[in-house]
Symmetry: C2
Subunit: 395 residues, 2 copies
């Protein structure tokens, strides 16, 4: 790209967006603090503080203590300045929230959906619920700055379009950002549900951990990867798609993908339910499996633990490849309690090298069913809080 | 950390380091170009240009064309401003180079070593060769700004210390940066050889690719991961350590780690040589295997291809986890030609989902035995070219 073209597309940074990044930790600072840290002149800092105050993204935070004379004013990030709409769409259930820019929930709603009805009716309902949640939050549409959407299938993150999603008939290549953006007039970010669960768990529970793997065990099995503090999506957004990895030493069961012995074919909720049926125990879905384990059914508990071991075989490989310090196990099947994680731990700690496991924690999700909507909120907020976004806003 | 402590440790940025990042692409720019792109005042830009010119990191690059009046001067990154020492230490061979800041080799040397002699004699020799290579480059010691070192074992990157390296007796927890830094008086960065091979291949051959996996197949098997454009080391620097991942469907051969069926136990150079010996073919090491394949030995070719299939089983899992767009196969065994990659491709394309493989390329290393030293140069140069490093230098 030639210089003059580059100039045409780049917003002129005022430096305010970058200074704002320092304030995102929420700590109050004086103009003098900011001048000291950035090495910039008091007049430059004062101009930037004025721009940010006018935008509402920072707000007065009282007076600093003074060694004499008039105490200086302090400023801090004001997460209440704007709101985002967070949308988690599953195969049969949706969960939406209006949150502030720090992920604080102002209004929330969940209801059954049928994702297979296609994008038009489903997204129409999202728009309707979005307006209702804004009203319930007491915030006007003008305060909405972005929307984050999670979908239960592969998504090309750069365009926000689903790519051949197996359980979402009618959604292939649907312009989700366009369909929602035309109605809500703000940027719309889209990702798959597992990536957003990883983001949600990381942002709300493990923000000081740089390397985290989130594993969803439900109808399907998938993972979201946080590496060096950020979500890694890979070249086509397919990173973490571990459901069709072959399980070392696992049974050679046929998989819907055409291969045999895939992780989903041997350890997903439906796979456990199918194994229970061969023992004449009635179980149709992940929910039945969880209910049986919770009721103390020994066969169900044993099969969930065995599924954990198969998942552990694949996660042992993930530990060798990624060297995370935390693995979070989420999804419906994880709600059955300790049996799943016990099976996973057993194999991961036996199969991986000591250097990679000595500080490794394998834990249950703390955000549970809210992981996805928390992640959608974090993704939407991040989009408007970057240095470039703040500069574009206030220029 | 309190604000006053933060201030104590942070260099006062002049903004020159950040402006320098714009110039790292090597394109000549005028002061006016820089003012336009950054949105900063001409006087601010002029001051920063003066600081960078004085440092030598940018240099005059002729005059821009003019629409009238005196044509304005242009400036560009000057990679010849300083030099780095790149050191690749293997078990039995070393390779060292003095390069400029763009990785251009000014002087290079390789010789046999015995890494097991321990850090003192080996690093003493590195210092001696470093001085000789500087002299051969015609550059004084004062021009040296950093050293990059690759070691054949696990390294804690933050401290530069080897961690229980299996083939480096006497090196456990050795203070490599301290030992070299006290003699050469510059920062010393240390990483394992595979990470540096990944960096070297990426920096010199695939710099526009964001997601790349480099796989070394030699006495051991390991990988280096480039994700979103940067090397990912994981929580303990052990990311990419795939040698002890269980091969799905592979033979249950015992491994030196205590487990069975590890990738190294079934597909490394020594494993292929052992399999050849069971066929009464004399082969002691990776080099023998490569020589046999090159000589057209059918058993060796078949076994190398079979090793490729085992590696492909593990790489199929890596493809699902990481979704790279390029996999580069390097290391001694890869020098045997197409058989190894053919086996790898066969399994990866069969075992991975179409979304992850449709744009995936699996290729042989182009830098070959120079990958490590190129990566050591890239790591050392990056350390001194970041915005913070440039600011610290010129303040």
């Amino acid at each position: 790209m030639r210089m003059d073209e580059l100039v045409k597309f780049a917003p002129r940074p005022t430096g305010a967006g970058e200074m704002f990044q320092l304030l995102r930790d929420g700590q109050p600072r004086t103009r003098s603090d900011l001048a000291t840290v950035t090495g910039q002149s008091r007049s430059t800092i004062a101009a930037r503080v004025d721009l940010l105050l006018a935008s509402g993204y920072i707000a007065p935070a009282g007076e600093a203590s003074s060694t004499g004379g008039r105490p200086p004013a302090t400023f801090a990030f004001n997460p209440a300045a704007r709101v985002v709409l967070a949308v988690d769409l599953g195969a049969t259930h949706s969960r939406l929230a209006v949150t502030d820019l720090a992920g604080r929930v102002l209004a929330e709603h969940g209801e059954p959906i049928a994702i297979g009805e296609g994008p038009d009716p489903v997204l129409e309902r999202v728009v309707e619920l979005g307006h209702r949640l804004l009203a319930a939050s007491g915030r006007p549409l003008d305060d909405l700055v972005s929307v984050g959407v999670g979908l239960p299938g592969p998504v090309e993150h750069s365009t926000g379009r689903p790519i051949n999603p197996p359980i979402m008939p009618g959604w292939d290549d649907a312009d989700v950002p366009g369909l929602l953006g035309r109605r809500l007039h703000v940027p719309v970010l889209v990702d798959n549900d597992v990536n957003l669960m990883a983001l949600g768990e990381h942002a709300t529970q493990w923000s000081t951990v740089d390397d985290l793997l989130f594993v969803k065990v439900a109808t399907g099995i998938g993972a979201g990867i946080i590496s060096d503090g950020a979500l890694r999506r890979g070249a086509q957004g397919a990173a973490g798609d571990i459901g069709h990895v072959a399980v070392p030493g696992g049974p050679e069961l046929p998989c819907r993908c055409g291969n045999t012995g895939c992780l989903e074919a041997v350890a997903s909720g439906p796979a456990i339910a199918a194994a229970l049926r061969t023992l004449d125990v009635s179980a149709d879905a992940s929910g039945d499996v969880v209910a049986l384990v919770r009721a103390g059914d020994l066969a169900a508990s044993r099969l969930v633990r065995e599924a954990g071991r198969h998942i552990g075989e694949v996660l042992a490989a993930c530990v060798s490849v990624l060297n995370p310090s935390v693995i979070v196990i989420g999804g419906h099947v994880a709600e059955s309690g300790e049996h799943l994680i016990a099976g996973i731990r057993e194999v991961v700690y036996r199969r991986s090298l000591p250097l990679a496991t000595q500080h490794l924690r394998i834990v249950a999700s703390r955000t549970g069913a809210a992981a996805g909507v928390r992640g959608a909120s974090a993704m939407a907020a991040e989009h408007v809080l970057s240095a470039a976004a703040i500069d574009a806003l206030i220029t």
